[in-house]
């Protein structure tokens, strides 16, 4: 953890603070609390300049996931430093501006600053990370914060649309970029950018080199709104204007530029890299400048102008990569000038475009509109704003003496140089490069003029404005004025930047061009004689002014290019087709019918398990002599089990179906006896009795079984699935019982049951001691089920889904005057209850235990209810069984917690032998206490269920 790490973390921490301190911050504008963050960061990064200028990049590491080779390694060199300064510097001005732009009484300003800080931290992370995966994480975080900020006024449809669009496009690019990173990792075995750069010699010839390049460029182009991915940026203008100024012109959209610059040492020198970036950049520059002149919304105009300028920077980076063709030496220096221009223009653009966005924000804020057709003549009303707009627009148009002029001249030098290129097949088409660049610059001049003069000069139309405009408050003016001053200062003294920032950045982008120990020397001059460049600028001014005069009257200049086909429409249609297609595919299998889902499950079961058995060839049909012998009676029992089951699908009455199922259940009880499982037999017998009774209670109120009219095809399908499941299960049973691949853990339980747990009934010991935690959770599940039943029956959810209500809402227990039943049950109940207690208390050593005892007691109570009616039961035993369940759970839980108090793990049990009066030597175990909890829970659950369902008339 270093100061650099803290710098990246600081915005996140403050964002958290803003969220937590919502109340105290609501009295002041939260922006005042946030403002120190970017200011301090800016000061910190300014302080780093001398070190970086001295040629010592800073490099710090904090381990994160060392086993995967992912560390949070931060790397501060000339390139990152420029971006860090832009992020914190423009960030400070934007926060200050937003304090006056966002009304704290009307807007959710705290949320706004949380998102803004989130972005600031993420963006710093992007430009400072050395590890590609960390970079990717921050990259996506910038997309997310951008999404949140665009949708800040989320009640507007357009905001949500724009947010989603930007998210889809940039995240698509981000994923492509991630794939590119992984391809790079596959080639080099490292995620560290510096290490990848170091191993560049070994990977250039690899077949994966080109795919990696294209994938990474996809990420860069989507983020930096290059054609044809630019369509998200104009829609992103729905964000509050400070956000547009910050994210969507100065910083986030330059992340793609950063990525291209950062990877230049890896990919530059490859002709594909040169052509893809140059052509994409120039196309974007040309197309977007043409679109910009047709906009009537000021922010839309600025959006297209941003796209266009991003294209310009991108193309410069492409042109600059030609330098890498030569390697270190004098030839490369000429081409490297393009890179210098790119870095310089990157900063210039942030400055003048930031100022222009703030101006547009002021105009919007003061007049209530951004529509050029309504604006005009604001010059006298807002003189300061006008001055800033003029400086910004002239700088953008490339007029002296502003900073934009210098970088525009350097741009022309670069494109003229590119037309002279005689390698990478540039001979034929190279001449087009300056032509396109010049034409686009004419349009740039044109829209810059439109922006400033259509707004501030011309006819003032107060009747079209919502508000009476006047100059903005001072706080809103300071940030654009600062930026406009910078535009002049850097225009007059460009070398302030060139020594301190541009030279180290050049070193970062073109390390291969330098001899060891050497540095770049960048000198930017305002005047260098009557060169071609200056004539190009004069031409732009002349033609541009002419076009400005014609702009209103010539349709080509102010009408849309085509009406029918636009990229936006393609995007909208594509999205709709995806949604519709996805829905229709999903609806073919998500039918809403539970039966279909059950069929999928069983079909998968058959395929997975049956297929698995086939694959490992573990199918046996007996033959091995180790099977247990079968006696005649057992064979009869099996037949007696199978017959009711097989008959079940054919019966037509409910009663018969229930009785047949019950018969199967009792036969299973018999098998438990045969297979030496006395506990199971007891449990199954009681459960079967109680559930058959439950069925009989309920069934009367279910409709009669109808003869199902199932089409033959479906019938066969059902049969096939059922038969398949049956066959697979049979095969599994055989495969499992033929041989064991490992020893059973049974021996452990058999050996340890008495010495460790003091019980001789191993099954019971497993339940209450060895696996006590399972049992605890199990009785909880039972308790939940019983409460669910209670709620379903007793709590009316209010809403009646269908009007007609069954007059017999409740299920009634028959309470006939059955004398024999009553007389017999009076005696039997006591015997059963006593027996159940015996079962419970003997459970640790003999068959029985909490489950069985509880069920037996419940069965006795059910018998009581059957014979005498619910009311009698309720009078005789005036307890609420839900409370009994709760008590049981509590006892079981407390037994477990008790062992914690004694310093042993949860649910440890102790036992000992005590010499008690009357009973003599008695064994007492805490497990019995736990079992008591189980007992009570089971009684409570069963009785809650029966009581809920059955009710007296």
């Amino acid at each position: 953890m270093s100061l650099l790490h803290i710098a990246v973390l600081a915005p996140f921490i403050v964002a958290l603070g803003v969220m937590l301190l919502r109340k105290p911050l609501s009295r002041i504008h939260a922006g005042w609390a946030v403002l120190p963050v970017p200011v301090i960061l800016f000061a910190y990064f300014l302080g780093r300049i001398p070190t970086i200028q001295g040629g010592e990049p800073q490099h710090v590491r904090a381990a994160w996931i060392p086993s995967l080779g992912i560390d949070i390694t931060l790397y501060l060199d000339g390139l990152s430093l420029i971006f860090a300064l832009l992020i914190s510097g423009i960030g400070s001005l934007v926060v200050l501006y937003s304090i006056f732009y966002m009304d704290r009484t009307k807007e959710a300003v705290q949320r706004f600053y949380v998102y803004l800080l989130l972005f600031m931290g993420a963006m710093l992370g992007v430009v400072l990370s050395d590890n590609l995966l960390v970079l990717y994480g921050f990259w996506e975080l910038t997309s997310i914060s951008s999404f949140l900020l665009i949708a800040f006024w989320h009640h507007r449809d357009r905001s949500r649309y724009g947010a989603l669009k930007s998210m889809l496009i940039t995240v698509f690019g981000g994923l492509a970029m991630l794939a590119g990173f992984i391809v790079l990792y596959v080639m080099t075995g490292t995620f560290s950018i510096r290490e990848i750069v170091a191993s560049i010699r070994t990977i250039t010839g690899e077949p994966l080199f080109l795919p990696a390049m294209i994938l990474i460029l996809l990420g860069a182009f989507t983020k930096s709104a290059q054609f044809p991915f630019h369509i998200w940026l104009p829609d992103a203008m729905e964000a509050p204007t400070p956000v547009s100024a910050y994210l969507h012109s100065a910083t986030m959209v330059k992340a793609g530029i950063y990525l291209v610059a950062r990877f230049s040492p890896v990919f530059a020198g490859h002709s594909w890299w040169f052509w893809i970036i140059t052509i994409t950049g120039l196309t974007t520059l040309m197309y977007a400048s043409l679109r910009a002149i047709k906009q009537t919304d000021l922010k839309a105009l600025l959006a297209f102008s941003t796209v266009s300028q991003l294209g310009l920077i991108m193309s410069l980076l492409g042109l600059g990569s030609a330098a890498a063709y030569f390697g270190a030496g004098p030839d490369s220096v000429i081409y490297a000038k393009a890179t210098t221009a790119a870095i310089f223009h990157l900063m210039n653009h942030a400055i003048f475009k930031g100022a222009l966005f703030m101006v547009v924000g002021i105009v919007d804020h003061e007049t209530g509109t951004r529509d050029l057709r309504k604006l005009g003549g604001l010059l006298n009303l807002m003189p300061i704003t006008f001055t800033v707009a003029l400086i910004g627009a002239f700088s953008m148009a490339g007029l002296p003496p502003f900073n934009g002029f210098l970088s525009k001249e350097m741009f022309f030098t670069a494109v003229l140089q590119a037309s002279q290129m005689n390698f990478w097949d540039a001979e034929t088409w190279g001449i087009l490069i300056p032509v396109v660049a010049w034409t686009a610059s004419v349009f740039t001049f044109l829209y810059s003029m439109i922006l400033v003069f259509k707004t501030f000069t011309g006819k003032y139309q107060p009747e079209k404005l919502e508000k009476k405009p006047h100059e903005a408050p001072i706080g809103m003016l300071i940030p654009p004025v600062v930026l406009a001053s910078l535009a002049i200062i850097f225009g007059l003294f460009p070398n302030l930047l060139s020594y301190s920032l541009i030279e180290p950045a050049m070193t970062a982008i073109h390390p291969a061009l330098l001899e060891p120990g050497d540095t770049f020397h960048v000198k930017i001059e305002m005047w260098h004689g009557w060169t071609t460049e200056i004539f190009m600028t004069i031409g732009i001014i002349v033609i541009g002014s002419l076009l400005y005069k014609l702009h209103g009257s010539v349709g080509v200049l102010n009408q849309a290019l085509t009406k029918n086909f636009t990229l936006n429409r393609l995007y909208d249609r594509g999205l709709r087709a995806l949604e519709g297609g996805g829905k229709s595919i999903t609806s073919t299998y998500m039918t809403g019918s539970v039966r279909h889902y059950v069929i999928y499950i069983f079909a998968f079961f058959i395929l997975a398990l049956g297929g698995g058995l086939l694959l490992i060839g573990d199918i046996h049909f007996g033959g091995s002599g180790s099977y247990a012998p079968i006696s005649f009676y057992e064979a009869v029992a099996i037949i007696a089990l199978v017959i009711p089951v097989l008959v079940l699908p054919f019966v037509r009455t409910r009663l018969m179906a229930i009785i047949l199922t019950g018969a199967a259940g009792y036969m299973v009880t018999l098998f438990f006896v045969l297979f030496r499982a006395p506990d199971l037999a007891l449990t199954q017998m009681i459960v079967e009795t109680v559930s058959v009774m439950l069925f009989l209670l309920c069934f009367y109120h279910l409709p009669k079984l109808k003869r199902e009219k199932v089409p033959m095809g479906l019938k066969w399908r059902n049969l096939l699935i059922s038969a398949g499941v049956g066959v697979v299960v049979t095969l599994i049973a055989l495969a499992a019982s033929t041989g064991r691949s490992f020893d059973s853990i049974a021996d452990f339980f058999i050996k340890e049951s008495y010495p460790s747990a003091g019980g001789k009934n191993i099954v019971n010991v497993i339940l209450v001691d060895f696996r006590g935690f399972d049992t605890l959770l199990e009785i909880m599940v039972l308790g939940i089920a019983s409460l669910g039943i209670y709620a379903l029956i007793r709590v009316d959810l209010g809403e009646q889904l269908l009007g007609q209500r069954d007059p017999y809402q409740e299920v009634y227990l028959p309470s006939r005057n059955d004398v024999i039943l009553r007389t017999v049950s009076k005696v039997v109940i006591f015997i059963v209850v006593t027996f159940s207690w015996y079962l419970f208390s003997a459970g640790h050593n003999e068959p029985g235990g909490g489950f069985i005892g509880g069920l037996m007691t419940a069965a006795a109570l059910v018998l009581l209810s059957m014979a005498f009616g619910m009311d009698v039961t309720r009078n005789v035993i005036p307890v609420q069984f839900r409370k009994v369940t709760a008590m049981g759970l509590l006892i079981a839980l407390l037994t477990g917690i008790g062992s914690l108090v004694l310093g042993v793990p949860f649910l440890s049990h102790a036992f000992g032998h005590f010499d008690l009066p009357l009973l003599g030597d008695t064994e007492l175990a805490t497990a019995v206490l736990f079992d008591l909890g189980v007992y009570l829970a089971v009684v409570g659950v069963t009785m809650t269920i029966i009581n809920s369902i059955g009710r007296d008339q």
Binding site: Y627, V645, V687, L694, F749, I750, I762, E778, I949
Partner: protein, 112 residues
């Protein structure tokens, strides 16, 4: 014995599944009941049958049958009792409210 038990288990499963695939809620519940029985017997059969005395140390036998599946089944019996009851009440309540026990008519709505 294992061979015949396996066949019986297969039949329990097959009929259980067939019942679950039918339209009537009552049949579906009974089907799950059969599946439960099938699973219990399957667990027992998998651990080999009749390999010793019941797992009670009081028997003082030289070998015992595997107690682990028995413990599993015991909890399963009780749980499935709870689940079946719940299922039953759900079916009853659904019928009372919606007037049908036909699974085809109990489909979810499209907009969900």
């Amino acid at each position: 014995m294992e061979l015949y038990m396996s066949l019986a288990i297969g039949i329990l499963f097959a009929v259980g599944v067939y019942q679950i695939l039918s339209k009537s809620l009552l049949r579906i519940i009974l089907g799950t009941n059969l599946l439960t029985h099938g699973v219990h017997l399957l667990l027992l059969t998998m651990s080999r049958l009749k390999t010793g005395a019941a797992p009670l140390l009081g028997e003082e036998a030289s070998s015992y049958v595997d107690p682990v599946p028995q413990a599993l089944i015991l909890t399963s019996i009780v749980i499935s009792f709870g689940v079946t009851s719940f299922f039953f009440v759900l079916a009853y309540k659904a019928y009372q409210r919606l007037g049908t026990d036909n699974m085809e008519e109990l489909r979810g709505k499209d907009d969900e």
